[in-house]
Every structure is written in structure tokens, then in C-alpha cells.
Symmetry: C2
Subunit: 305 residues, 2 copies
């Protein structure tokens, strides 16, 4: 199986390196780090044990990459319109594209460009970051939930999952909508609220008023998911997410890091799109809609910087 | 008619000075500015023409003040529990207490301490501020809406309104709940949103997403007021408020100034209380509830300063 990694950052760099370390044939697309990684390889500083890949199959343009059995897209969704052109050179008849990205609506959007493409969703539960060129710091967690969106080649999907597990990546298969919305229960409240309140997860949960607000925002996601047919989400899951976050090291979610480092925020796929999908089934998300609007205000002011 | 002013700041100082300039018998309670005002009087820099009162009947404690026909309470509501003891020495049998304060629920709370007191609400539409000791800067507007809460002495109320008008204060009489909720339509969205977004009114209205959020928050107030029996508020009034704010000089509402100057914010009477009153008649205010929770989070972090 040939793997292509589109976006060698905190997510793509980590999972790609795990696969490569296990002996899989992995090809990495890089941008700013290309020269550095060609010379020095990739370093993974991980809570599960540090390792490095001295020699990496690195590329500075996707048209130079080989056709792949599995293409893993692990870019931010803020520039999602470039993804079709980026992956086109890597596709062959049975290629499976796995989108390890946050949000709702990514798979249907990509399917519009490639009606017959095999697409799956990957939801990473991981705390990791790219700390310097070619260096990924993995602090904790690391499992992936896979949801099959349109892959009709079950053999390919199973082989990929087997490769993931063989590489030490805890991998679970879930129904597609459940996989996407399950992660949204945590993502939608915490990503935006840490930006708007300029705080980490622990501060938001220690204050009684934001703790109850976050619970209510989670409930909005669960209600929307239920209305969309996802039956596995309920109040118990909300309490599980609150408990889990209570026990976590104080954390800045990816949108907070994007904000802090003055990078664009993933407002569209993390907020606007799920709110729109929920509205289509008659489900209001008033507090998350307000959070989206506050984020768009912040984003509009930053553009003048 | 003898007037007592409890709180000689941007509001009490301005209206009290207007009354005194017109020859009314006005007694001012001061705190930090007492010595300065005793020596130098009060200066009003006003868009309608500057004036000064060289000699002011000033007091540093309310028990030194005479009994009054009208007591005007113009303090911030953040320390409302001290109001009964402050005004007690000024009260005689027919005293009318006018609360020129922002928020919902102030009159019933005061009535609990004085079951037979004559109380009215005063809603000031004014841009003014205390810029230095004894100096009030009045930038624009200045009218007052009066709502009779429990005054059974209609003669006293009429005399006060006549004195206000005689002093050049544009004064309108409205039904009590209409007077209070009408101002809340503007106050609830703009006070909190300028704090949470750290912006002035114009920026919030120029951004499409916060403009629609503010309209939705105003709608929550109108719906609550309607449910509480106020029929005069509707969508037209919302558009009038938006238009008026569009035409205003970029403005920081009082809560934003309190935030900027590190003073406590009036979250209770501006948010918690109206949200509670609305909930009692089955009316949700999801976006204003979220705004309240965001403000309480900000307030909880400031207390550690």
C-alpha cells in the first residue's frame, strides 16, 4: 500500500511518521519545511517514546508524488478549495482519500469534485503540535475514529485500518455521521470559546457560568446530531466529555492556537457548515450560532492587521 | 420641592445640576469628589452649552442631608444593597424615589425594604461621563423616560416632571414596564457585546455577523417584553434602535467604560434579572443568557487582578 500525506504538520506528520516507522511506503507533501526535512528528516517527540525518521520521502509539490492507494489529507480546512487540485495527481482508480480534518461537510464537498472517489472521514483524538521545522511534539492521546463516507472498496478500507493498527495507532470504525458529530460535541464549544474568552479549557470549566454554557452548547450539538439520525449521542456523552476535559491538562484547542499564532480560523467547517446542516433538519443552535458570529467578528478585525 | 441626589456622577451630577441651575433646591451626596466640589462647585461641559454651579449644597453622608420630596438615585446598580440605608434618612411620608439606573428589577427590590414608598423608574437617554472631580461632560442626547412603579401621589410625580421640564430636561411619561424594557432593547445587546468583543457600537454594526446577532438579541428582549405584557415593542422598534445606533458617534456604553476602567460591571440588573423575569413567563433568551455567562466569566477573571 502506497500512502500520500497531504499536509505534514501536527496531524499528518505524526500519523505519517508512525506509518513510515512501521515500514509502510509513505510519501509526504511539505511546504515551508521541505528543505529542512530533506536534509534532517522528521523528529517525533512523543509521550509514547521519541523517534526520528532520518530519511523521508518528501515532496514540495503534489504532482511530483506517486499515485497512492491511500491519500491522507491533514491540512487545515481554511483553504479547502485547493484540495481537489492538490490530490488529483495522486489518484488512481481505487484510491481511498481519508480526510483527517475537523468539522462537518468536508466529505460531501470533496465528493462534488470527484463523484466516484472513495472517501472516508478520520477524526483524530490527539494533542500534538509542530513546534519547529520537521519536529512534531505529541503530548497525549492519539487514537483515530474512521467513518466511511463513500468507500465502496471495503478491502482497501480494511487494509488501511490494519496498517494503522499495525503501526501502533489505536483505530476505531464508526458510522460516518456518528464519527463526525461525536467529535463536534467537544470541538464546537471548546474551539470557539477558548478564542472568544481568551482562555484554556480548564478556566472555562472552573467558572460556573461558562461551564453551564459549554454544557448547553454541547447539548445543541447532540440535538442536531440526533435530528440528523445519529442515535449514539446523548446526555451521558456530554457528561463524559465534560469529565474528560476536567481531567485533561489545561488545553488550547487548534482554533485557539490558530488565533494565537495569527493564522486563519476554521470557522466555516467547524461552525457555519454544521449550523447550516442542523438548520436543514429544523434544528436551531442559538448559542453556537452566536459563537460563530463572535468568531467572524474577531476574524474580520484581524484581517486589518 | 426639595431634591436629593444620591450619586453625583455622570447621571446624577448632570440632572441635579440642571435642576439646581433652574433654581430648584437640590442637595447632592458626594463621595470621592466631596472636598473638591465644596471648594470649586460643579462644572457641566455640555453640547447644549457649558455652565457651572460655583456653590453646591454638597454632603459626604446621607444622614446629614435634609428630608426630601424627591430622592434621585443615580448610582451604579453594582452596590444596590446599600441603597435602602443610604436613602432612609432622606425619606418623609410622601417622598418620591426616582431610580435613574439601568436594568430590570430595581424598583421591586427597593420596595421590599420600604413597602409603602412611592417609587418611579427613570430611564436616561444620554451620553455623559464624569471626566475629572466635579466635572461632568455631556456629549449628546439627555431626555428621560419616567415610568411610575408605585407612586400613589400623582401630584408629587406631576410636580417633579414639571420641574424637570422647567429645567430644560426633555421628560416623557411611559407605562412602567414599557419604560424599563424599552431601554433594555438597546442596553442588553450593546453593553455586553462591546465588552466581550472589545469594540465600540459602530464596529459591531459594521460587521455583518455581529449586526445580525445584535438584531437577534434585541428580538429576544422584545419577545420577553411582549410576554410580560408590554405591547408597544415590536420589530419596527428594533429597526429604529439599529438605525439610531448607526447614526450615533461610535460609542462605548456604560458597561464598556466600567470594564475599561476596571470597575465592577452591572451584570445582575442588566442581564441576570431580566433573563430570570423572562424565564418566569416562559421566555428563553438564549443569546443574552450566553452573553451574561461570558460577562460573568470575564468578571470572575478580573477579580483576581
Amino acid at each position: 500500500m502506497v500512502y500520500g500525506i497531504i499536509g505534514t504538520g501536527a496531524i499528518g506528520g505524526y500519523y505519517g511518521a508512525k506509518l513510515a516507522r512501521a515500514g509502510k511506503d509513505v510519501h509526504f507533501l511539505l511546504h515551508s519545511d521541505y528543505d529542512y526535512v530533506c536534509k534532517h528528516g522528521l523528529v517525533i517527540n512523543s509521550c509514547d517514546g521519541d523517534f526520528m525518521l532520518p530519511s523521508v520521502q518528501a515532496y514540495d509539490a503534489s504532482f511530483k508524488m506517486p499515485q497512492c492507494d491511500v491519500v491522507i489529507v491533514a491540512m487545515k480546512s481554511t483553504n479547502q478549495s485547493v484540495v481537489p487540485d492538490l490530490i488529483r495527481p495522486l489518484l488512481k482508480e481505487d484510491t481511498l482519500v481519508l480526510l483527517i480534518q475537523n468539522g462537518i461537510g468536508l466529505e460531501p464537498d470533496l465528493q462534488q469534485s470527484f463523484p466516484n472517489l472513495h472517501i472516508a472521514a478520520g477524526l483524530a483524538f490527539i494533542c500534538s503540535g509542530k513546534t519547529e521545522p520537521g519536529v512534531i511534539s505529541h503530548q497525549c492521546y492519539g487514537s483515530i475514529n474512521i467513518g466511511n463516507y463513500s468507500c465502496k472498496n471495503s478491502q482497501m478500507l480494511s487494509s488501511m485500518i490494519a496498517d494503522f493498527r499495525d503501526s501502533g495507532i489505536e483505530t476505531n470504525e464508526l458510522e460516518y455521521y456518528e464519527a463526525r458529530w461525536k467529535k463536534a460535541v467537544w470541538n464546537m464549544p471548546f474551539n470557539g470559546m477558548t478564542v472568544v474568552m481568551n482562555a484554556k479549557t480548564d478556566e472555562l470549566l472552573q467558572c460556573k457560568s461558562t461551564r453551564q454554557l459549554i454544557r448547553r452548547q454541547m447539548k445543541e450539538v447532540v440535538n442536531a446530531a440526533n435530528a440528523l439520525g445519529v442515535t449514539a449521542l446523548n446526555d451521558d456523552f456530554i457528561e463524559k466529555m465534560i469529565d474528560m476535559t476536567d481531567s485533561m491538562t489545561p488545553y488550547s484547542p487548534s482554533m485557539k492556537l490558530d488565533f494565537d499564532y495569527n493564522r486563519p480560523m476554521e470557522v466555516n467547517y467547524l461552525y457555519s457548515r454544521p449550523i447550516y446542516e442542523a438548520s436543514k433538519v429544523g434544528c436551531d443552535m442559538p448559542c453556537l450560532k452566536m459563537l460563530e458570529e463572535e468568531l467572524l467578528f474577531i476574524e474580520s478585525k484581524r484581517k486589518h492587521l
